[in-house]
């Protein structure tokens, strides 16, 4: 929760009042005794500083996990190496990657290879322990649901869209540019900023009035200035703002004609920025990965991560710069999508449904299975027989089985 600065903290603070209207909710706090409740809900992301204590609490009492990122390598590294528990890290790596994983873990501990949470996070998600402890999962995307199933998770999974923010009409910030292209979020390689700068540089050669608004902190080691100089964009056509408060963020977003939100690799996350942009009816250009790939084609142009990425990105920006009709159509489709899928009340209702099932579902399943198996036994259906298997199949079809 705020004042921690993270997308998940914003998300939790946004959702909490809507949940509290529908359920009795007690917020667990760091270093406090966990409250009594029918069901415990844990928001887990990949940041050990923000979520380490939440995993500690989950270990003490399993419950429903909101898996905001699927790749938890950085979190696990913080919970193990960060606590001087190298063996814990090796065990986590071995669990997922076998002997090879353990050996690679040794390489990390001995500083012989770069940290895997930076170099190969997709190959070693290290979500296993959290999945083991989760009595149910809430995810935001099919991508994370499929990855959890592929990792062997067999419990219930509820896919609940990220809620949109309701905001008062906002006056656009006064920034020139025709078109004005916005990028919101950290400025680094995994957000594909190098590719964006190249594509924008090319666009600007054809459209000298185009402007790129880069909002967000520059990540350590990413030399933005040098890249701008090399592309001839230094001082030309670029507007920079670092971290901005919420009101300013909305005003900047409102000023944009088109917004770009790229990334690779993805940790399975959803973007709060993209949700905000869609709610403003902004056409967005995203990478064709993870949750982003699941956005309807009507609201987002999707850029594959391949050898032609920059070329594809340029083509997308050029299309949106020249085609007012396409922008208008994407804008209205985005607003409709947010109204239909990302309404806060709808999200809260889906949470309530999930939590009610999590709290009482076992008792319901026990009762139904008990009744059915008693009736089956009464008419001579033996456990393990084809008839019993048929019963189990039918129960599973209507989600009454286990």
């Amino acid at each position: 929760m705020p004042p921690e600065r993270s997308g998940i903290a914003d998300y939790s603070a946004h959702l909490l009042p809507a949940l509290a209207e529908r359920l009795d909710v007690v917020v667990a706090r760091r270093r406090r005794r966990p409250p009594r409740a029918d069901v415990a809900l844990y928001h887990v992301g990949n940041n050990p500083d923000a979520h380490g204590w939440i995993v500690d609490a989950l270990r003490k009492r399993p419950g429903v996990v909101v898996l905001h990122d699927f790749v938890l390598h950085h979190l696990v590294a913080g919970l193990t190496i960060g606590r001087r528990d190298g063996h814990g890290y090796l065990d986590a790596m071995e669990r997922e990657g076998g002997v090879v994983g353990r050996l690679l873990g040794h390489g990390v501990l001995d500083k012989r290879i770069p940290p895997l949470w930076e170099s190969r996070p997709e190959d070693f998600h290290l979500a296993g322990e959290v999945l083991d402890l989760a009595t149910g999962l809430i995810v935001h995307s099919r991508h994370v649901e499929e990855r959890a199933r592929a990792a062997g998770y067999e419990g219930p999974i509820w896919r609940i869209p990220h809620p949109a923010w309701e905001h008062a009409p906002v006056a656009p910030a006064e920034i020139g540019g025709s078109p004005l292209i916005g990028s919101f979020g950290n400025v680094n390689a995994s957000k594909r900023i190098p590719q964006l700068l190249e594509a924008f540089g090319r666009l600007r050669r054809d459209r000298p009035d185009a402007r790129l608004l880069l909002v967000g902190a520059v990540s350590p080691g990413f030399d933005l200035e040098r890249r701008l100089q090399r592309l001839g964009l230094s001082g030309e056509g670029i507007t920079r703002e670092a971290y901005v408060e919420e009101d300013r963020l909305w005003a900047l977003m409102a000023a944009c004609d088109v917004c770009v939100n790229l990334r690779s690799p993805t940790m399975g996350e959803t973007s709060g920025s993209v949700i905000r942009l869609l709610s403003l009816g902004k056409p967005v250009v995203v990478s064709d990965v993870g949750w982003f790939a699941e956005l309807p084609d009507e609201v987002a142009l999707k850029i594959p991560i391949d050898a032609h990425e920059t070329e594809s990105l340029y083509a997308a920006l050029e299309l949106l710069a020249r085609d007012d009709g396409a922008r208008t159509a994407m804008s209205s489709a985005a607003r409709e999508l947010v109204r239909r899928e990302h309404d806060l009340g709808r999200t809260a209702e889906l949470y309530v449904a999930a939590l009610e099932q999590a709290a009482g579902g076992e008792a319901v399943a026990d009762a139904v299975l008990g009744d059915v198996s008693r009736a089956a036994t009464d008419v001579g259906i033996e456990p393990g027989s084809p008839e019993a298997a048929e019963l189990a199949r039918r129960l599973a079809e209507v989600e009454l089985g286990r």
């Binding site: 099932q357 709290a359 139904v368 209507v398």
Partner: protein
Amino acid sequence: MRVAVCAPQVPFVRGGAEIFADTLVDELRGRDHEAELVTVPFKWYPGTRVLDQAFLWRLLDLTESDGRPIDLVVATKFPSYCVRHPNKRVWVLHQFRQAYELDRTDLGQFSEEPADRALRRSVQRLDRVALGEAKRLFATSRNVADRIERSTGLAAEVMPHPPQELPYRNDGYGDFVLSVNRLDRAKRIDLLLEAAALDPGLRVVVTGEGPDRERLEGIARDRGLNGRVEFTGRIDESELASLYARCLAVYYAPVDEDFGMVPYEAFLSEKPVLTTSDAGGPLEVVTDGETGLVTAPDATELARAAGRLREHPEEARTFGQAGREIAARVTWDACIDRLLA
């Protein structure tokens, strides 16, 4: 075409849903289809019995009968639409309303215990799966279709069904308001009795049977309505047609009703309908000042509306005739064409 019409059966209870299923079978047969009614007894309490009984439908094999294929099934009401068939059509009269809009009301069934809350969600999940399998999904009213969409995300086509066949006629506008309904708290017949208590000129005839009868008779007694309220019990079709023909207006104001055939039956006798603004489905055909009068769910307002029709029978006639035009458009020919298409 061989068609199995699936409907649950609550032993010793007969109402609009049962009449509808029987009539659908008859109408299909009348159009040279082989049609059969398939029923399974339904008891929805206590605890998880509602799921056990729904699951019974899942075990039925209606793909063929006696070695010959059944071409399609038409399921009507929860839980009959849990049946499996490669060509399942569902014409939804009711979901299990206790799991939806009746939850946390006097008419609800599920407590605040975690197991009961989860049970309610299991019913909703069951609906999502079972209705999602339908090759075509119809709802008897916009109210039902909207509820299906809200609860399952599925889009249902709105298709009202015609009312039962009766010798409908109009013998004028008498001095009584008629209630045609099962005597059940959700049908809110007590509101009409309270209105009668406020208006000494209002006479009421209440038809039907049900678990609320004793309470309703108690209200009539306590309010001194003896002589002005008549409980007929269950009556035959010709008596019902006669009451429709002679009444001033028909009262029909259940709580958020899904559909209800009664307004259509009233209209076919050219009678206006008195209803309330929270009645749900009936409001799709009962328009205030056009086909009847719509009041707040309040006895004083209802008494005033009944008094207005009594003093202005020409209005009752105008509203009833406008209603007849609406009812005449709902035919079995049109419904069955859509259902089997």
